[in-house]
Symmetry: C2
Subunit: 345 residues, 2 copies
């Protein structure tokens, strides 16, 4: 059986740890495993299949024998090291926003555009967490009834901003329960018992970069440059799991029943939709799951050809590490990603 | 100076306590104050202007000398006692959903439709919390550029569901921090570190009653039966303060700058909108405030003539008690609500 030498850059972060757990759970054919991180985290130990691995500092030279390099260490690291890893012959699957909108870099959600993997020149971009779960749910509907416009409001977990942000929610929550005041670091304002409509930096048009990403990445992944989309991205005091309230306008009418049936038969999706027993997805329940969960599907009373739905997924899994691993699996299955040994042989 | 005998039905609840505090803060010309509640809460003491008042059980006979009766004790109590109080000569301002959509009952937000107060036949309805803050922000824009469609996603505080619900958030939060599991009562599922897209009961069309109220009440208050509106109402782990992400489609183009200027000069509104310093409203900061706060105002990139904004207000004040007191104040100022003594005199 072909095995692949894997590097995980950012191995000690939230997404890095999901990578380890997902590679293990899915019995990914790992040859060498090389967990990498910044100087600060190097020397720490992580466990893979019950064996300890020492985390090393990521250098240019680290990638010479690597087949697949998963990057999740922030934009600066990706900008610097992804091209080096690719040049050394690794297929890079990068979780940062750095290369996502570059025309020469495929931006892939395997349920939507697996064929794009084949276009890679060493780097494949993993989309934004909120965008992945959105397009998994939109695409099966778009295929039968082209989407014209999407309006999204998100309810995003703090883990999307990393360890420090998740710890900040925990710390602030305890302080508030003790009647004490808080001093925010990871977020601009208190996040405990609060919601903040600010994710990533603000652009000149008043949207945040996170909101803009949802528009641009959705179009690129779905090969639908004409879809109009507007998002409001909001951080909520939830550790794991992003939720989205979505109004979709189609070309022609579509019933909630029809949409439910299509989604139910589509890859990567679970429909949880029985209001009579309060059955709908919510972030606490989807943590650790691999699916994109859809509920509250209804015909939009405010316009023709419209549907409203509620989409929830684990932002660290399908929103990040899982999607990247699925890209690798799909590339391997289709023969577009190969191990160096098999190339040499 | 004319003084008014006031009954507060539901005086021991969240909204009831806000009534007491608001009447005090605004130096409302209170003659007699009669705090009323269910049998269970009768006998407890509340304080008004540093004097104790015993809470009595609400009976039919309680209203004979009352000028204004504020009701916030749930739909069942309102259905039973509002008509009795009105028949006894009190002007009833009811916070429940019971009478809101009855054609003979005015549904009033003083910044929007104060003239409707004059149409009352003893009962005036106070709108839904989420609707009040929405129409305060929409109406000044609608007057200069009629609104065609609104899409709303809410981030609603648990206090909107009463004391037990707010306590449930506190209790569950502590349990989760201790690594223990929770047993929800006030909500269908855990609310701590979670979000739930369910407020009020589900209707046949898949919307909840809360979502449907936002559509219907907005139309009635603004006298704009043709506005199309769709809401998704979501409970978030916040004690106080409702937030709303809103996409508005107008008849003709409107710039964010223009909207900001109009809102800035409109009654009851404060614009907080400077992304460069993370300046926008959020629920933790608006608790105890009387204004509706608007921020994140931007032109909608997904369609012509559109604006997106973020609206936050204290759900117990402008969303409930304050708006009811303002209805009374407006009615008194315009001579549409009078004290019985002045009528007799």
């Amino acid at each position: 059986m072909e095995r692949f030498n894997i590097a995980i850059v950012g191995a000690t972060g939230f997404v890095g740890q999901e990578f380890i757990s997902i590679l293990e759970q899915r019995r990914f054919p790992v040859g060498k495993l090389r967990p990498l991180a910044s100087e600060r985290s190097s020397g720490t130990e992580i466990f893979f299949r019950h064996r300890p691995f020492e985390v090393q500092e990521a250098f240019s030279e680290t990638f010479h024998d690597i087949d697949i390099a998963f990057f999740s260490a922030g934009a600066d690291v990706s900008r610097q090291l992804c091209p080096i890893a690719a040049k050394a012959g690794a297929v890079v699957i990068d979780n940062s926003a750095t290369f996502r909108l570059e025309p020469s870099v495929p931006l892939v959600v395997p349920e939507v555009n697996p064929e794009d993997i084949n276009q890679h020149n060493g780097i494949i971009a993993n989309p934004n967490c909120s965008t992945i779960q959105l397009v998994v749910a939109l695409y099966p509907l778009h295929k039968v009834n082209p989407i014209k416009r999407v309006i999204i409001s998100t309810y995003q977990a703090v883990s999307g901003a990393g360890f420090a942000a998740a710890n900040e929610l925990t710390r602030e929550t305890k302080l508030v329960l003790e009647g004490r005041s808080v001093c925010p670091h990871a977020f601009a304002h208190q996040i405990a018992f609060n919601v903040l409509p600010e994710i990533d930096v603000f652009l000149d048009n008043g949207y945040t970069k996170e909101e803009w990403k949802m528009t641009e990445e959705t179009r690129k992944i779905m090969h639908a440059p004409d879809i109009a989309a507007s998002a409001t991205c909001v951080r909520v005091p939830v550790w794991f799991g992003h939720s989205e309230a979505v109004n979709v306008e189609f070309t022609s009418p579509i019933s909630a029943k029809e949409a439910r049936k299509i989604l139910d038969q589509s890859p990567g999706i679970k429909v949880l939709d029985d209001p009579s027993v309060s059955h709908y997805p919510y972030p606490w329940a989807v943590t650790g799951s691999n699916h994109v969960f859809v509920g509250r599907i209804r015909e939009d009373i405010s316009g023709p050809n419209g549907l409203v739905m509620w989409i929830v997924a684990d932002n660290l899994r399908k929103g990040a590490a899982l999607n990247a691993v699925q890209i690798a699996e799909e590339g391997i299955k289709r023969g577009w990603i190969a191990s160096k040994r098999s190339v040499v042989a």
